[in-house]
Symmetry: C2
Subunit: 430 residues, 2 copies
């Protein structure tokens, strides 16, 4: 059964996913003569760079989630459908979703990336990923529950296991969550739990590479290492994890380490919808696209953002999976879809690298700009400004700014709630 969407004369662009790429494309296209169908499993856009602050009780989920319908209020040619995409049927030129089928003239796959456990089942089963707002909230609840449990224990070994935290993966997410946890251990937890001795709590960051933040410069990696060490984080470079049963994590050639909490930030893979020719799928479960983000063998199917794999002279191994690439690909594709309709020549994608950054703790960051690298407090101010400006919605900006100011002045993340919505009518999970 087709989903209830009016048929108009406008060519229909179906966008799967409302992340940075999909949302940007829809915002660019709706002013043109297209009918846009935006499909996501959530009714909100998630601002991924700040997931770690939700997980560490610094920000509310609502501050970094923006209702899609609010973005397109009063817009008549955007149709939002909250659904799971099951399969793409390229012959029938429609997609199959949990709500029914949706036909397309142009299909844009912007499904992004999800956690990659590299086939290690014990981590998939027992560790906590951080690739969605619900997962970040789950991490927040788990951390707080562990402290509550530790308070009631008499067994010192069990207590330490509950307090210890291991983070696997030294990219921006791993570095940022370790920094925030270290600040909590220093400023918040001893006040909240005077019964516990937080000298016994260890925070360990495990990275297989030779440096932290391996997408950034060597200087940035070294600075991050120094900042984290100063905060008391035990950074283990060139270490590999082998297994984790929920109580002990194995380190290759280096024995075991006891922890009840393992945060997995070690890698991503493309979130692939079904129905495409496996020949289109390359390393990292991504879709190979040409310079116009078109998938080989199709005239009307495109991929943008983290799921897209595009090789150029400057990026022979594909582009980095970051927000800037996603946003610029969306911009360029919006232009090209317009040009196709106008029967004009297409514009090839060229990535303009504006730099990258990561924050460590309450007032330090590392910033790599194309011609300048710097770190410390000035970098942190830049980090704050850039992130505030990238957030969707004036009120979100205001609320986040107040939260940051407040946390900065009081050394206190105040959202330490173990909070779960009720799950069934009349039967709340209190």
């Amino acid at each position: 059964m087709p989903v209830n969407i009016p048929e108009t004369k406008q060519p229909r662009v179906v966008i799967i996913g409302a992340g940075f790429a999909g949302l940007k494309l829809a915002r660019k296209l709706y002013k043109q003569d297209f009918q846009i169908v935006l499909i996501d499993r959530n009714n909100y856009h998630q601002f991924q760079p700040l997931f770690y602050q939700v997980a560490t009780a610094g920000l509310e989920p609502s501050s970094i989630s923006f209702p899609l319908r609010k973005v397109f209020q009063k817009v008549k040619n955007v149709f939002i459908r909250i659904a799971e995409v099951e399969k793409i049927d390229v012959d029938k030129k429609h997609i199959e979703t949990s709500l029914g089928t949706v036909r397309y003239n142009y299909l844009v796959i912007a499904t992004g990336a999800t956690t990659n456990f590299f086939g290690m089942d014990s981590f998939e089963k027992n560790s906590i990923p951080m690739k969605s707002v619900p997962e970040a909230l789950y991490l927040r609840n788990t951390l707080l529950e562990n402290f509550e449990k530790a308070v009631t224990l008499r067994d010192e070994q069990e207590k330490r296991r509950l307090l210890n935290i291991v983070v696997v993966g030294g990219g921006p997410t791993g570095v940022e969550v370790c920094g925030a946890l270290a600040e909590m251990r220093k400023f918040v937890l001893p006040k909240d739990y005077p019964e516990l001795d937080f000298n016994h709590m260890s925070i360990t960051l495990v990275e297989a590479n030779q440096q932290l933040l391996h997408g950034m410069s060597r200087e940035a990696g070294e600075k991050a290492f120094r900042y984290l060490s100063k905060l008391g984080v035990d950074v283990k470079l060139e270490h590999k994890v082998t297994h984790y049963d929920g109580r002990e994590v194995g380190l290759e050639d280096r024995g075991n380490f006891e922890t009840s909490t393992l945060i997995w930030a070690a890698g991503v893979k493309g979130q692939m919808p079904g129905g495409l020719n496996p020949g289109c799928v390359v390393r990292g479960n991504r879709l190979r696209v040409n310079r116009f983000n078109r998938i080989d063998g199709f005239t009307n199917i495109y991929a943008i953002g983290d799921i897209a794999y595009m090789e150029t002279e400057k990026y022979p191994h594909g582009h980095p999976q970051v927000a800037q690439v996603a946003l610029q690909m969306a911009d360029n594709l919006a232009l090209n879809l317009f040009r196709i309709e106008q029967k004009q020549e297409l514009n090839p994608f060229v990535y303009s690298d504006k730099g990258s950054m990561a924050t460590v703790g309450r007032n330090r960051a590392v910033v790599d700009l194309p011609y300048l690298k710097f770190a410390g407090f000035p970098a942190w101010l830049v980090w704050m400004f850039v992130h505030l400006m990238s957030i969707v919605g004036v009120k979100n900006r205001l609320v986040i700014f107040i939260n940051w100011l407040w946390n900065y002045m009081t050394y206190d993340q105040s959202l330490r709630l173990i909070l779960r919505p009720a799950v069934k009518k009349g039967h709340s999970e209190k």
Copy 2:
């Protein structure tokens, strides 16, 4: 097994429940020479009067929930334990909890009230109550999901069933949630869902009594009726509901009415811990107490707040179950526990009624003070001020104030997220 709490020379006061009564008592007592054990199933205090704003996407749960440990930061004689209380064992002078046993010198029951379905199973099964933050969040999610579902439907009758909302119970909660929903229907929903016709959405308030807000004055009830009618709420006084299967609600002698969403705000009953003599329990599942909040037959067990039933000359049928009574009982009991230790005479409880109020819609309220009744915009300003001042935490006050100001200026509750935390490690409910 006893729960891990240090034994000291201080007499131990165990408080069950961290609502208005329990939290206030703990805050009063910790400056005295007592050891206080505060037990709640949640790690936060909930500000009940604003649940309806969480349910209608006006406020975040975190704005009206306050972490208990933050209240008692650095305090050495308060021990917080997050646990379910299973049974009171008056002979052994301890309580049994999900964490183990806790012995007491003084036991204070402050478990509050929960939803009363008056034995009507079909409502318990199919309606949505609003007596906790998780339930309020559940209501928010359900309302938004219904609109998303309605967008995809072709069947007009089904669509109307999804849009219609019935609220049972015309007390403050029922009146306030109806007002907020009516404002949403007017200002927010048509912009978010241009595909839907909200002239077909009905909001119906069903009340068995002759007036709304029956704890307040007749004038207040009439004003509330007028305000709600003006907002397009269909108020049905002297109507009783008989059954509800999740699709149709039965009205006694008046046929059926189609709705997928029935909000139950019709009554409360005491949340009784097990193990007490049934002879102590009176009407409304409450515990009968004397003028010192002591339960008959015991020298060291007390009840305060909504669970306590105290008759006085002025209140021969017990005191109203409102925040003011709970706070004042806690104050008085703190004084009396101190006096018992000092072997002084006890102070009988005397309720000082400071008045009551309810808000209707975005800028109207009704206020009954002891010698003055008023309504409209001035009443709304008073309502705002009193609620802001009653909230725990400076930052909560600030964030709520900004939210209210924002919503007032933009006619827009912006937290329209269908948000559920992940439920299992590695398997998020996205």
